[in-house]
Symmetry: C2
Subunit: 252 residues, 2 copies
Amino acid sequence: MPSKTPSENDFLQSYDPRGFDPVAVTVDVVALTIRDGRLHVLLVRRGEPPYIGQWALPGGFVRNEDLEEAAARELAEETGLVPGDLDRVHLEQLGSYGRPGRDPRMRVVTVAYLAFAPWLPDPKAGSDAAAAEWTPIAETRQLAFDHDRILDDGLERARSKLEYTPLATRFVGDEFTISDLRAVYEVVWGEQLHAGNFHRKVLSVPGFVESTGASTERGGPRGGPRARLYRRGDARQLHPALLRPSREDEIR
Amino acid sequence: MPSKTPSENDFLQSYDPRGFDPVAVTVDVVALTIRDGRLHVLLVRRGEPPYIGQWALPGGFVRNEDLEEAAARELAEETGLVPGDLDRVHLEQLGSYGRPGRDPRMRVVTVAYLAFAPWLPDPKAGSDAAAAEWTPIAETRQLAFDHDRILDDGLERARSKLEYTPLATRFVGDEFTISDLRAVYEVVWGEQLHAGNFHRKVLSVPGFVESTGASTERGGPRGGPRARLYRRGDARQLHPALLRPSREDEIR
DNA sequence: TATGTTCTTCTCATGCCGAGTAAGACTCCA
DNA sequence: TGGAGTCTTACTCGGCATGAGAAGAACATA
């Protein structure tokens, strides 16, 4: 048998945690929803040092469960979701953050998840209602740890995913109008879209939406005809994609 | 002060690793390069149980360093790269895998990274040459742990990134021809591309490549005129993107 | 009823894309 | 040396997606 190399020794030692500084693994969740026409993120106010009194992303220690299960559990605990509701929530892994010193107490590697839902209950029962809140994105300031960076990465992921997946349909109800869908894009992307072109585009992408045949009972609150209602289609990717206008500055 | 909720207690306890089963954090690297016109991945042969004798992705325990540093270190150790070489290697986080039981010995959460380089030295000095090898993608079989899944995710990420980033220029040398670049796309995507359209497309994307003014000294090995040489441009995103043909089956 | 808003469809000019063609430069082999 | 085959580069053509604008009909509110 060949003698073990330094890197192999490291690998073997890695299974004996006493050989190294202890590491904790947590999950943090960037949970997004749209309320009152604005994009909101779920934040909790810290009741202990460090960063006491500051807002942070909800999260916690990983138990004997898969990482995604841990994220779903944390989200459910903070929002009071019941298991059935979770089917309506889109959850995906965002990335991991493990810079030494990101938590002053000990080494903590966190796996961040991104969650979307059309509505989510107010934080309540099962959680500390006074310490968790839906906050408009524009009003978030100075989160604890490196959560500002995680939130930024989550927002960019969300904006990008609207382009080539039917994710926007997760922000609306079971039946929705094309304008409802357009409102999602406008809120998340933060820009106005051309109503006519958006309409044409959505209907032309196969599997994005399917017609219910029905229409809304009334026109819009400020006038306009009744709009046709649609359901989510079966596409998992949008082809061709709905690209954001004006990203020229991000290209280089 | 409000009483602490269960989830907050969990969070606090998370900083006392004695309160929970110990967790190890590793990094694993999906290192890709092109050799002899085929896509290769760096694999190591395991010399210890479990999965003794099977091939696995290179990886190891995270020390007192950032996650990306750990991945770069592991890659350098296996390939004998010197620090200067690392500038030429593209490294990005792929995702984290933490299913309980993925390692039979204890709970291990791994953060996977994806690495690309135009050439990488054969595994040697500083590593166990007999136990690490560049393997053609088509010949990889039954990797240890959940590394098959990680490799698949890495390949899909690489294929996807070629579409909308200038990543392909990381697989070629400093000066290259359009055909060199096309060969990268063909090898990674596993399909033939239309030479004329590819040429037009690459030159029309702003910042993808820039001309050096020079040409190759000779024609191709089987004939053809001398080709013009190009350098990497300054674009970070390709706009418009070079989309893969025939993904129709993946859309739904 | 009058006015303004919104949904939906259309038109038009522009530009990208896949497929095919072609000229010329080059290598290899007989 | 000559011919066959290869490859780079450029061009054309039809189809399709896109952005901008316009228009008609349906609806709410005053």
